[in-house]
Symmetry: C2
Subunit: 112 residues, 2 copies
């Protein structure tokens, strides 16, 4: 519980980079929803409480561009669109787990 820090300056810069994508509002929630199997636009929106369609669109594009999810379009009528996490996205979710456990240990928050 009280081991020394192995984290490097290098690593920190990388963490900051990741944060710029996944640290934005809604992003981690969306990524998780997709990771847990929500594939459809409306399904994702329903899972993440308070999320507007505009922000969902924006975030999905960002996640797609970051290579964290795939957008799969089937040209039926009307068009069917599904979202799936990539390998990369799954691994990110896994890398996020210690953070969830950390937050759990220290809950509830004191100040703020």
């Amino acid at each position: 519980m009280t081991e020394p820090l192995h984290i490097s300056d290098e690593q920190c810069r990388r963490v900051s980079g990741i944060m710029e994508v996944v640290g934005r509002r809604w992003t981690s929630g969306i990524l998780l929803a997709v990771g847990l199997g929500a594939e459809r636009f409306s399904e994702i929106q329903h899972r993440v409480d308070g999320l507007s369609s505009r922000m969902l669109t924006v975030r999905l594009r960002e996640l797609e561009q970051a290579g964290l999810i795939d957008r799969i379009v089937t040209p039926t009528i009307p068009v069917s669109v599904r979202y799936r996490t990539t390998q990369r996205g799954l691994e990110l979710l896994r890398a996020l787990q210690p953070l969830g456990q950390y937050a759990h240990r220290w809950e509830p928050e004191p100040g703020r």
Copy 2:
């Protein structure tokens, strides 16, 4: 490498909460700098490239309020101020490590 997800919806909400603090610009860099032993204001500022004194002040207050660092004032003349990571802060840094490793694995080719 390809284990299933154990992460829960609950956990995700917590991760988002953490992100609201540590996902902001400069924050993880500052936390790391302090974690690695930078104690003085100017020392921290020097460690984190491009960081203004204003933003450093703001972030230090946020980190302090979040219980991640301690601000220790010694009433000498002039006043001496030191910053230290709390137990909580150290554990957060440790929880951040997998993210650094993740970023390292996927580094060559983030955009596209």
